[in-house]
């Protein structure tokens, strides 16, 4: 009995993973590769032939390529600032962590309040005398503004999760390393790049993988700010599943998102690899 106990304790969670994780992923793969009960790649060829596909693909990739590096720098800055603070630390951490609890839909609505035609950006510009009539920012004529608004909303919303992981990681680095570097005359910047960053690699790995995945899943922010004017992969998946009722092509889209996620996770793991002996 005692030997079986750990397995019994793991049983519910394992069964759950099996039924609601592995089985459905198998189903998605099958669904994307079959049409009308036959094995085929037609879903993929149809998907890529549709004019929205390459737009959705590149919008998603560019969004991730712009948002994630900015967030990494901001999260590192926030974390370093908090580390240096002596008083008011927990208050500041709470404020920085607030967006963590805010859903992507709510974040989209928040930035809609700023960018819509009678919104706060127009009001500010009007107050400054830059414009005399409210401008339409989120129209289909100015796709790049929608793109920019989505970038800002994403940066605003999801920097917190990286910050929290990095702060937690910094807390695990023994103070002695930094003190030793200081004794040897390393400047603050040198200490950051030569001591803190390398020791932070496990946290950076987690933060980047989680964040890149979220970037490829971007959906509600885009819908809130631009409807379907700015196609992204997850939005197209939703469209095919719901409006167009074609589950095969929706599954093909899902495979593309999955492929991107796995590929980039592997890249991050490889780039920030920490040898077994070098962990703290």
């Amino acid at each position: 009995m005692p030997r079986a106990l750990p397995y019994l304790l793991l049983l519910p969670a394992s069964l759950f993973l099996l039924v609601f994780f592995f089985y459905p992923f198998g189903l998605v793969v099958v669904e994307s590769l079959t049409r009308g009960g036959e094995w085929t790649t037609e879903n993929f060829t149809r998907m890529t032939a549709h004019w929205k596909f390459s737009q959705a693909f590149w919008n998603t990739v560019w969004l991730a390529a712009i948002v994630v590096p900015v967030q990494l720098i901001m999260a590192l800055t926030m974390a370093s600032v908090v580390q240096k603070l002596k008083t008011g630390r927990s208050g500041l951490l709470y404020i920085f962590a607030i967006p963590l609890g805010i859903s992507d839909l709510a974040a989209g609505l928040i930035w809609l309040a700023i960018f819509e035609q009678s919104g706060f950006l127009n009001s500010i510009l009007h107050g400054l005398g830059v414009i005399d009539r409210p401008q339409l920012f989120l129209g289909y004529q100015s796709l790049w503004v929608i793109f920019l608004a989505v970038c800002l909303a994403e940066i605003w919303r999801a920097t917190a999760i990286m910050m929290v992981i990095i702060v937690a990681g910094m807390g695990l680095i023994p103070k002695e390393y930094n003190e030793a570097a200081e004794v040897f005359g390393a400047s603050r910047w040198q200490r950051f790049t030569k001591v803190t960053l390398p020791l932070l690699r496990p946290s950076l790995q987690t933060a980047l993988i989680l964040r890149i995945l979220m970037a490829f899943e971007v959906f509600a922010v885009v819908v809130a700010l631009g409807g379907t004017t700015l196609p992204v992969l997850m939005g197209e998946t939703f469209q095919w599943q719901f409006q167009l009722q074609d589950r095969g092509i929706a599954a093909a889209y899902a495979m593309v998102i999955l492929g991107l996620s796995v590929a980039f996770s592997l890249v991050v793991l490889r780039l920030l690899h920490v040898p077994k002996g070098a962990r703290i």
Partner: protein
Amino acid sequence: MSDLTINAPREKDVARAGKFVFWAGIALLVLWVLVPIWFLFVNALSSPAEVTSFPKRFWPSFDLASLQFFWNFQGVTAALWNSVKVAALTMILSIGMGAPAGYALSRFDFPGKEFFRVLVIMTRAFPLPLLALPLAVMFIRTGLDDTILGLALVHTMLALPFAVLITFSLFSGIPVELEEAAWTLGCNRLQAVIKVVLPLALPGIMASAVFAFVISWNEVFAAAVLTIENRTLTAFLLQSLNVSPLPLKFAGGAALVMPALIFIFAVRKYLFAMWGIANR
């Protein structure tokens, strides 16, 4: 050392300038996080006419008409109630299955332990909301489609990996010796857990339960795919985005944000401890 003393006055200036930049940076970051939320609440607490007027005031008029309009809108209260039910169920399911698994991982050494841990971590490298696509089919077959339980099961899949990893770190932080002492005093294994370990781990378990609640409360994609009649608040807002007037959107956004703010505040102490261990 001598050039240090010569440069002293200049360094003092540099230090002062550095300090100024430091605090200005903090102020900017705080504003960056808080101002967008402020704008949303200004909109939510103004009358519908004010929300669509131009130029905007930057201070709410504390007119509750927008919120009243939102509250009385067809389907809103039902959606709110659904959101609460799904989130509560997610909370119970993920802790109910996650805590035993976390306990097993922290207290026992057994073959397959590392495999299970990697498995749980691995699930985070997949875009989990996509699971909703195949599960939609599976649920129609089993009669779980468009039910609170069906959606809660998918949300549990999102929250379970976190619940396992967080409770694992919690239980690891409680010395085994306490349990052993309870055994020598005549407790059996289960009694020791209930009387000694649980009271100590309870605050942390509550925090991870709250975290599961927030994950479910905020989730948009799976909720929108899996529910038609019994929509949650996020699904309701998303699907009425292109038809609903602005005051409704902003009041809805505020209703989404408010509980999240409170929850993150309630668990702020645990946020960092949670992620520190989840890194490894």
